[in-house]
């Protein structure tokens, strides 16, 4: 008599709602490909040609990928010390975690608006510097690539902290003690023991933050200038202003391919940097 294991098949019905959601998602992806590859008379690459033939769009792709690369690496580097701090202060971890989680969960439009208020031409920083007599006229901190990089890096940092911290918390404290009893100082222990063990968390963070910045729309529109277009802003424009779903879908597929390429490169970098036993 193995009561718990003889489960009736009727339980399978419970999967139905989740399967419906999944079908909806997969259906929407299928439709994405259909719109992108189906022209007026059947299969066509015209929408891709409309995108790939334009030199100014090449620049958009290049900017999207380089900004995504810069901000995900910057977020990983800036987030690491925060994760380390939370890891070293277990008694304060819950309070400090709230300081990380709330900015992560607050709407990104609100966080971006905050940067507008701080960095704008008449923003807090420029006005303060002017009041202090450091500058005469406002320094252009937004409506350029710098603004987009600052805004996106800040938007991505909380997630990088969380993914790094979750791996740091897995580290056996005895490893540190062993390292220190063998004569390594605090910094050496971090560099030789803690850092290599925490790299998988850093790479998880890098993958997700890279994806997020590849698909960003709000921050590039609000903090970038008219010329600082990214793939996400182009897609949004095609859908909302031009109602060109086919071209928008083709853009989205280009974005997906570039993202997959970036993730593959990150995988390769992780394989090269992290010893196998830790993965």
């Amino acid at each position: 008599m193995r009561g718990a294991t003889s489960t009736p098949r009727s339980l399978g019905w419970l999967l139905l709602p989740a399967l419906l959601v999944l079908a909806l998602f997969l259906g929407s992806v299928a439709l994405l490909f259909f719109h992108a590859f189906w022209g007026k008379d059947g299969f066509s690459l015209i929408y891709f040609r409309q995108i790939l033939d334009r030199a100014d769009y090449h620049e958009v792709f290049l900017r999207t990928v380089s900004i995504a690369a810069i901000v995900s690496v910057a977020a990983a580097i800036l987030a690491y010390p925060i994760a380390w701090l939370l890891w070293r202060l277990p008694r304060w971890r819950n309070l400090l975690l709230v300081i990380v989680l709330v900015p992560w969960l607050v709407s990104l439009v609100v966080r971006t608006y905050g940067w507008l208020v701080i960095l704008g031409p008449k923003g807090f920083l420029n006005e303060t510097l002017k009041w202090a007599g450091v500058i005469q006229s406002p320094v252009p901190l937004i409506f350029n690539d710098l603004g987009v990089v600052i805004g996106l890096t800040h938007v991505l940092m909380p997630f990088a902290v969380i993914s790094t911290l979750s791996v740091l918390l897995q580290i056996d404290h005895r490893l540190e003690e062993a390292s220190e009893s063998l004569g390594a100082g605090g910094f050496d222990t971090w560099r030789r023991v803690v850092l290599p063990l925490s790299l998988p968390g850093v790479f998880t963070g890098l993958s997700i933050t890279f994806l997020t910045s590849m698909g960003a729309i709000v921050t590039p529109i609000l903090l970038g200038g008219v010329r600082q277009k990214m793939a996400g802003t182009q897609i949004y424009q095609e859908v909302v202003y031009n109602f060109n779903m086919s071209k928008a879908s083709a853009w989205a597929i280009c974005l997906l391919l570039l993202s997959a390429l970036g993730l593959a490169l990150l995988r390769a970098a992780e394989a090269a940097l992290v010893p196998k036993a830790d993965r």
Binding site: T7, P103, R111, V117, S166, L222, V239, A252, L255, L256
Partner: protein, 266 residues
């Protein structure tokens, strides 16, 4: 010799930590400035922007819409995730790893691509620019976040309890609703609050789906920033921060925040 270095490292890390809430704090401070912008030294304080926001029907409506959509999404997605995760937990089908990967797959989609994909399908069904359409899209986006805490909670249930109940004659319905549901409540509450807050604050996908009939609070904030950055926005934004903060504190009180930093075995 290492102590000062570590102290320096801690101070630097702490400064970086305080960088995270900086824009939110600045918005909060701005919302109370009578002048409508933040300056140093600070000017007179006032609640006029809150009064202005609270008497503007557009903001009240968007706020109510966002709260209602988030509540419906949270309940819906938690129910869907519990039903599905429970069935998987009991039946353990061979294709479970592939199925869970498929459930998680929206996470690997850049939001701009996800937005277009959902516009395509919702336009076909005639739900574009409706609250129903936004709810459907949010359920798709939040299912991965609701799924994981529920799976973790179900795995923590002692299998012998289920076996004992079954031997004592409890039917499947009784086991699911009388045993698994209450014992998995930490996962359910986490899923409920987490999906509520994601839905309430989501903007990138939602901005593809709103229309003249319905808009959410974050999307309306975005539209107003583009039109004219009135200081009313600071008051509205602060209100969304308060909602988010309250939900996070509630989660911390009820369940704790360990879930967010629990190691993902996948």
């Amino acid at each position: 010799m290492n102590a000062p270095l570590i102290r320096l490292g801690r101070a630097g890390s702490f400064a970086l930590l305080l960088f995270l809430p900086l824009p939110i704090v600045v918005i909060g401070a701005t919302s109370f400035a009578a002048a409508g912008y933040l300056r140093f030294p600070p000017g007179e304080l006032s609640l006029r922007w809150y009064a202005e926001a609270a008497t503007d029907p557009r903001w009240i409506e968007a706020f109510a819409t966002s709260l209602a959509i988030a509540a419906v999404v949270a309940v819906l997605v938690t129910a869907i995730a519990f039903a599905g995760a429970y069935a998987c937990h009991r039946l353990r089908p061979r294709w479970l790893p592939a199925f869970e990967l498929a459930i998680m797959s929206p996470l690997f989609f850049p939001h701009a691509a996800l937005g277009v994909a959902l516009v395509n399908v919702l336009a076909m069904a005639g739900y574009l620019g409706t609250a129903t359409g936004i709810v459907i899209a949010h359920v798709v986006c939040t299912l991965p976040f609701a799924w994981r805490p529920i799976v973790v909670a179900l795995q923590r249930i002692d299998g012998e309890i289920v076996e004992a109940a079954s031997l004592l004659g409890a039917d499947e319905r009784r086991i699911a609703l009388g045993i698994a549901l209450p014992l998995a409540r930490s996962g359910l509450v986490t899923a409920l609050l987490f999906s509520f807050i994601i839905s309430f604050d989501e903007v990138t996908v939602t901005m593809f789906l709103t229309g003249p009939q319905v808009t959410t609070l974050p999307v309306q904030i975005y539209a107003f920033i583009q039109e004219n950055a009135s200081p009313v926005l600071a008051a509205i934004s602060t209100a969304t921060v308060v909602v988010t903060l309250l939900v996070v504190m509630l989660l911390e009180r009820l369940i704790g925040l360990e879930f967010f930093v629990a190691h993902d075995p996948a």
